[in-house]
């Protein structure tokens, strides 16, 4: 793909309604506008997004043969354990953050971002690039190990109350909806899915647009925290996604995935969670400062991935794929 085509694709991504809604949310905060999705609707919306992504992943999983998906699953698990460790180590070099805050960051970056994933899907579909349907399964698989590893890095294996906390994370609502959705999708298959597709499929991007409007406002309110973040954190928030993204692309390609699929695995690795991880970290590591993790994941890495990252991971996947 030449530069011109890449820039065009980047533009497609930048001008997709969800990304524009995120920007509108930033603008709303800058203008001090009293806009807020009511909490009840916000919570229902995030339930919808998690369940929908799970169901789609389950339907796709059923259509994949075990042979197709075995290696990608292994690659995802390995990445899910490695990436938080790498983040934890790199943060030690780049920032003065303590063990707890680095563990919290590792949990966020080890897990993955539903919204970035979806933007990548939208991007590939708009560009007519094929990818494996079961990538939604990989998203679900990648959601949890990173959080667990991050918490363990912060607390150590003998940390008191780790058991209870892990229970809260693993049986928490995010995981239940994702895994439950996966099971529903797998059991109902394409035949059953067709009846709920208008709701869980067709509406997805629109609902995501509304959700990103709210997320943009949340980010806007965090921007002041950005200023307090040292330069090391800024470097981390930009560089680490590129490293993790490359690892994901490499893993996906080695596992035999298509260019589009390897790119998505890159996106999953490069992105940081802001649905499941913040809640889990808040419960398990109350001493960690959420302003740091959110400023980094939502304030820098998320827009970076949306604007620069997504096309870059595609270029990476094309380059690696043609080796």
């Amino acid at each position: 793909m030449d530069l011109q085509a890449s820039l065009e694709l980047a533009l497609v991504n930048l001008t997709s309604p969800p990304v524009l809604a995120f920007v509108l949310g930033l603008v709303a905060v800058a203008l001090r506008t009293d806009l807020r999705l009511p909490d009840a609707v916000y919570q229902a919306t995030s339930m919808y997004l998690l369940l929908a992504i799970g169901i789609k992943g389950g339907v796709a999983l059923r259509e994949a043969s075990p042979g197709d998906i075995a290696w990608p699953l292994v690659a995802t698990l390995v990445l899910g354990v490695t990436i938080p460790v790498a983040a934890f180590a790199l943060l030690r070099v780049l920032t003065p953050l303590g063990r707890i805050d680095r563990g919290a960051m590792a949990a966020h970056y080890g897990s993955t971002s539903l919204v970035t994933f979806t933007a990548a899907i939208v991007f590939l579909e708009a560009s007519s690039i094929a990818f494996e349907g079961y990538v939604a399964t990989l998203l679900t698989v990648l959601e949890i190990p990173g959080i667990v590893v991050g918490l363990l890095l912060a607390r150590g294996l003998r940390g008191g109350g780790m058991g209870e906390t892990l229970r809260e994370v693993v049986f928490g609502r995010s995981v239940l909806l994702l895994v439950g959705g996966l099971a529903i999708g797998f059991l109902t298959g394409p035949v059953g899915y067709v009846r709920v597709e208008p709701f869980f499929g067709d509406l997805f991007t629109g609902v995501l647009t509304l959700f990103l409007l709210e997320l943009g406002m949340l980010t806007g309110r965090q921007l002041s925290a950005l200023r307090q973040a040292g330069p090391g954190l800024v470097v981390f928030a930009i560089v680490f996604p590129l490293l993790a993204g490359f690892a994901g692309v490499l893993g996906g390609t080695l596992a035999g995935m298509e260019v589009g699929g390897a790119m998505i695995l890159g996106v999953l690795c490069a992105s940081a969670s802001y649905i499941a991880a913040p809640a889990a970290v808040r419960l398990a590591l109350p001493e960690a400062k959420p302003s740091i993790t959110l400023a980094s994941s939502l304030g820098m890495t998320f827009p970076f991935n949306l604007i620069v990252g997504i096309p870059v991971y595609l270029l990476m996947a094309e380059a690696v794929g043609s080796w």
Binding site: Y42, S46, E168, A225, I275, P278, L283, P286, K289, L294
Partner: protein
């Protein structure tokens, strides 16, 4: 209000506002301290130690529980130990009159 057929009495109403991610924990602490009931509603808020993250969890939770003085003291103790130091939590207490005292003690 004078004593009627019901057993009127006075109990403590303890109101706790916290990030909504804590809801389950808070309720189980309240229960294990001896509270026999509670009322929960959704809220938004701002405070001096505001961490600015309640938004991403869907706001705050506002819990009211009517308890005896001893239970209130126990809940305060648990809040001071496990919640105040780390989380965005506010709590306040005042005395209220109830009927059917037996329900709250």
């Amino acid at each position: 209000m004078t004593a009627g057929p019901s057993d009127f009495g006075s109990v403590t109403c303890l109101t706790i506002v916290a990030e909504s991610v804590l809801e389950e924990r808070l309720l189980s602490v309240i229960e294990s301290c001896g509270a026999r009931g509670w009322t929960v509603s959704m809220a938004q808020g701002h405070g001096p130690s505001h961490h600015g993250v309640s938004g991403i969890e869907g706001g705050n939770v506002r819990v009211e529980t009517l308890v005896t003085e001893e239970v209130a003291a126990r809940i305060w103790g648990a809040l001071e130990k496990d919640f105040f130091p780390h989380y965005a939590v506010s709590a306040w207490a005042y005395d209220v009159r109830v009927a059917r005292m037996a329900r709250y003690s």
